[in-house]
Symmetry: none
Subunit: 123 residues, 4 copies
Amino acid sequence: MTKAKELGVSENVVILDDGGNLKAFGRMDGASIPTIEIAQNKAYTALFGVSTQDFFNFIQGDPSLLAGIPALPRVAAWGGGFPIKVNGEIVGAIGISGAPAVQNDVDCAQAALALLPDAVPAG
Amino acid sequence: MTKAKELGVSENVVILDDGGNLKAFGRMDGASIPTIEIAQNKAYTALFGVSTQDFFNFIQGDPSLLAGIPALPRVAAWGGGFPIKVNGEIVGAIGISGAPAVQNDVDCAQAALALLPDAVPAG
Amino acid sequence: MTKAKELGVSENVVILDDGGNLKAFGRMDGASIPTIEIAQNKAYTALFGVSTQDFFNFIQGDPSLLAGIPALPRVAAWGGGFPIKVNGEIVGAIGISGAPAVQNDVDCAQAALALLPDAVPAG
Amino acid sequence: MTKAKELGVSENVVILDDGGNLKAFGRMDGASIPTIEIAQNKAYTALFGVSTQDFFNFIQGDPSLLAGIPALPRVAAWGGGFPIKVNGEIVGAIGISGAPAVQNDVDCAQAALALLPDAVPAG
């Protein structure tokens, strides 16, 4: 949220545990209502094991995945979701949504991950 | 959460806005998985305008309400949910779940409301 | 399932992980269709931390819990669900449903738990 | 699962009966949480009567099917789901998900079907 304030944007910040259950959530004033769910879905999608933008690049190469994966109820396959890994194992995920530009969400998520000393830097 | 630590219990703490949308959430380590949803439901139920325990007392007197209201998907009509009111108007709600005793949830919710100087004390 | 065969009953056997996600499932021939979901709900309910029959005894004493808890979408608060604990911590849950008598489900769940040397004996 | 171990991947394995109801499920350690649902959806999709990859090829040729079918709640129209047929009749379906490559899921499903002597080889 510090990063979001710096960028002048309003974000929803979601932390899920490794089972996809909500661990922490915060919505900054001004973040739009539909982005509440999107932030949660980005975090859930990151539980596939890669960042949501990398995951989209992966599914984009296969027409059947491209048609089907984004239709799953808890999936949001665009930038702003990252797995949280410790020693190579997924321990949870972060999802950020709310800013006008997806890149803002990505920047805020990476700033949050940088606060976790044991977590692998977001690729 | 400070109150919960004092009581030696683990809680989920939910803040909803006046539209019933998630504003903030935190789960203390040790709070059980099913109580994540219950905390959210208590907060949602408090948007009826009274505390969840008072709301149960109200529906308990009418067999049709008692049969139907607890079956609603986002309702949890037992202690631990309170509306947040400013000048008599509902501006949101708090829901707490996770402790072994409902009274712990109530105590934590009231401790949280006491932190809001403008909010009406929970009746 | 060995215990169920011994008792001459057909069961659904569910193992959930500590996050409430499906880990293993098996349905014996003859187990009825609605009991598939019930077995899953019993396991989920056991994630509250006690056996489903003990959990029902707990909610039975409070009219508001008795009205509301059984209405939750993934709850089944009658015998046949047990948490799986190792060193006092919940690592998952087992749920059994399908037999004509609830006690059969309980007996099969306890027989399954007895196969886990590190798990606390089902109380 | 033997095939998955051989390939060094972690899979969810789902067997549905001819009514689309869960018959058996197993999740190997390391299979990601979102793939639990995908494996079930692949098996459900195979109840259309053909493998999920053949089914995608079929819907791909018709813009209205391509827009609508993948949006159905229990559909996953990409490789890894197969109907189980005996004497030309569908008796159930298998769905596999979890590996990094869809082809791994297909290979594991075909290895599983090969264990069923009466089942038609997956086309």
